[in-house]
Amino acid sequence: MRDHITLQVARYRPEQESEITFDEHEVPCPKDWVVLDGLNHIKDHVDGTLSYRWSCRMGICGSCGMTVNGEPKLTCATFLADYAPGPVRVEPLRNFPVIRDLIVDIDDFMRKLARVKPWIVRQAEKPLAEGEYLQTPDELDEYKQFSMCINCMLCYAACPIYGLDPKFIGPAVIALAQRYNYDSRDEGSADRMTVLSEHEGIWGCTFVGECTKVCPKHVDPAGAIQRYKLTAALDSMKSFFLPRGA
């Protein structure tokens, strides 16, 4: 096995360039090195101006999402050896504006996320004296899958609908809304429905399904969206046939 591999790293320096260019570097390729290790090697030993986000190195923080050989990946969980003999092309996540090199602007996602109130909403808090809001393991299982989302944006990068129509609220936002909708302690589903039922909400999704395939945490955003379509359709029918409520 070769002990080095070529990394083709996308560069975008807005003060110099108006398009992405690529730098090539030979980096060590021991079997336990991930793409992020290769980038860190370049930054530490070759070119300190290379810019990218990273933090935890263990697939928890969701910072190091990039496009690796055309696929959205967490670079901390993508082994260089899997791409031997190379080269490995590293680009910024697709469908987001690029700020510099491998860094993308995710403000659009952050704004949309806040709209669906991704926290437990209570109409009235019960007194502290009554203790915690208890939950059974079955109730936890209802939303646990969706709670695994780490906001890494790989699903947005994989979604052609978001690429073509940036108004689409997007997979992770809907999955995170569902995380709270399915939480037995939450009472905010009606508030979220107002946002999710918009044209750019769930109905923007045409079920390409790539969001689920690229999700590193097996959240299944496509499933969350389809389940919510069913919920919204039933709710709409109920309000049509039972206008005064069930």
Partner: protein
């Protein structure tokens, strides 16, 4: 944050990349998706054909026999065979999607997705057997 911004210190110029017109050729899964979207026209054709057949049946032998003759013409036959193949494609992709959209509970236990998928195929087979029996056996 418009693309026309000129770079100045502390105010970077974002690079906005256009999605290629041929994005659906970049991945097999994207192509499968576009194929599913585009071939819904054939599903529409099947519905129209079914309605025409019902109309012909209601009209009695006088209108049903010409309908059969028209259905036997090469272009209608070819169209129907192609439509049938795409109907199968749509049925399969629909079934694959079903476990993601339908979460079924029996009591407090969640039914595994594979069982939901299998249930769809069993129902499909059952309906096919009944329809075959009606057409061939009756």
């Amino acid at each position: 944050m418009a693309g026309s911004h000129v770079y100045t210190d502390y105010h970077p110029r974002w690079l906005r990349r256009q999605v290629s017109t041929y994005w659906w050729l970049e991945k097999r899964d994207y192509f499968a998706f576009i194929l599913r979207e585009a071939t819904c026209l054939f599903v529409g054709w099947f519905v129209a054909y079914l309605l025409l057949m019902v109309k012909a049946v209601v009209g009695g032998v006088g209108s049903y026999q010409p309908f059969l003759d028209w259905s036997a013409t090469p272009w209608v036959l070819t169209l129907n065979v192609v439509s049938f193949l795409f109907m199968i494609y749509h049925a399969i992709t629909f079934f694959v999607a079903a476990p993601q959209a339908m979460v079924v509970h029996v009591g407090r236990r969640r039914v595994p997705g594979n069982l939901v998928l299998a249930g769809h195929y069993v129902a499909w087979a059952a309906v096919s057997v009944i329809v075959s029996w009606l057409l061939l056996g009756a």
